[in-house]
């Protein structure tokens, strides 16, 4: 049971279940775009796809896209008016689900995609790419799914740089007050699925991936990880799901 699917396939199928039919979904390149194509091909045929490059689509693109402004996203697209149009929909609060990535996450769901080290001592700071759209997604989408690799350097007590504030109080701003947004609502790592406690706003493990003992997940987290009393195993993708998924990326460009 552990051999017939790949880790990325498990993550994609799990994430896709968070998308409900008819929802507006903002997807970046890589796994998120595979996830939405899979959702469209299975339980969410009426999903509405937006991308950062400006694509709005009622249908999956004619093939894999490898950038967020990829021609694939505009061929047979429903609308294409640049970043303004889709990011504006996000800011208007019309996006139900958005995906972000990140290099670090902390116990309060703050995500870092800017760099590690001490920013104020530049020579100690290792820059990644920067926020990109991550902060915008988390600021304005109703539900925000973070897909991240997990190890003790990535799941940390406090991120080195808050690119995307989590659902707690950060830098003096209390999320959830007025319009102030609330950060990620779910995290799918390479080891399990995480949610946030409504009261403490702290992250907790909600699902473990098949075959992964909770102790190993804890060992890959450098803070004291809370575990859900209702902890479940993430369902293994069915043969049918895997067949559909692999037809979307037949050469394994993303899934391998």
């Amino acid at each position: 049971m552990f051999r017939n699917y790949k880790l990325h396939e498990l993550m994609v199928v799990r994430c896709a279940k968070e998308i409900r039919d008819g929802e507006v979904v903002f997807a970046g390149v890589g796994l998120p775009l595979i996830t939405v194509s899979f959702a469209m091909a299975t339980h969410a045929p009426n999903m509405i796809l937006l991308t950062e490059g400006g694509s709005i689509r009622a249908t999956a693109p004619p093939g894999l896209a490898i950038t967020v402004d990829d021609p694939a996203l505009f061929c047979n697209g429903d609308a294409a008016s640049g970043m303004l149009s889709t990011m504006a929909a996000l800011q208007r609060g019309e996006v139900d689900v958005a995906f972000i990535g990140g290099a670090q996450i902390d116990r309060y769901g703050n995500v870092n995609s800017t760099g590690v080290g001490n920013w104020d001592e530049a020579d100690t700071f290792t820059y990644f790419a920067g926020s990109g759209g991550a902060n915008d997604m988390a600021a304005s989408a109703k539900r925000v799914l973070a897909m991240m690799p997990q190890d003790p350097k990535k799941f940390v007590e406090r991120v080195d740089y808050v690119t995307t504030p989590g659902p707690g109080k950060v830098n003096g701003f209390q999320t959830g007050k007025g319009w102030i947004p609330g950060g990620p609502t779910m995290v799918v790592s390479t080891m399990g699925v995480y949610k946030f406690d409504d009261n403490t706003r702290e992250i907790y493990l909600a699902e473990y991936f098949p075959g992964l003992p909770v102790e190993r997940i804890r060992a890959n987290c450098s803070f004291d990880l809370k575990i859900s009393p209702d902890l479940k195993q993430t369902p293994i993708p069915s043969e049918e799901e895997l067949t559909t998924l692999r037809s979307i990326d037949p050469t394994g460009f993303y899934l391998d």
Partner: protein
Amino acid sequence: MAAVKNKTMALKEAVATFVNDGDTVYYGGFQIMVPMAITHELIRQKKRGLKILNASTDAGGLDLLVGAGCVAEMHLAWAMNWYVKAPYAIRRAFQAGRVKRHDLSNFGATSALLAGYLGIPFIPVRGNIGSDMIKHNPRDLKVMEDPFSGEPIPVVRAWRADVAVIHAQRADWLGNVVAWGTRGVTDELGCMAAKRGVIVTAEEIVDPEAVRSDPDRTVVPYFKTLAVVHCPWGAHPSACRGYYGVDIRFCQYQGKYERSEHLLPIFLEQWVYGCEDHEAYIRKYIEKFGKEGLERLRPVLGFKPKMDVDYGYHDPAVWKGVPQYTDENIKA
């Protein structure tokens, strides 16, 4: 799989379903593309207390709507029936205290719509400073200090309608709205900012496949659209780009009715209440002024795109099995 929703419906049904008394309404068009068939239907259904948002509007459409008693407030820069040089019903309604006007400059209004489109609460503008609009429209306009330079700068409040009503050249049955020849002036902004969505009348309804062959032309994507109504001549007597010009004589004719409190109800009786729908209105026009009246409005065609455009797709499957590029420097 659920069937993809077909949003085409009769105008009567669209207006009855999606416009409520008291709604804030983005009113589409500019000097042309005025949503006249929708205007008539709002009047027929006796919608009341509407709050209108738009930049500038001509051809007396809004004047009829105000004259028929549908409008409580207007936020805008300019309203006219240019062909009689005044908005007579609006003038009377303002004098009688039946309608509130909140005036901005044209780009002030467009910026307010843009702020609504962007989902931000306000936006700075360069105009309006020093004018009486700042005195009389504090609801939409304030002067504040630029937090970066410390200089005074006017800001306008974001405008977001409950529902937008527009006339377009084409739409598909899924709800994608297509415009060409200036991308709808402000309609793209007013429609996207609308909270519930958009009612669109269109000269032609096409298949989504046609729209998808050129998605750059979509000004309102389907997920914002509530109802698509097939409605030829839906902007008459204003113009529809590529379909017909302004009916100047009819604007003047209608304007003579707008001019008088006593005559306007006769126009509404004959041309609006007395016509079951827009088709009946056009039939009445032909009966009264002849087919040549409409023929006169036909545009000179032949201004067609001549560039060979292809959106082109690249299949990343080509990379399968292609070895890494390397050389003596980076072998390691």
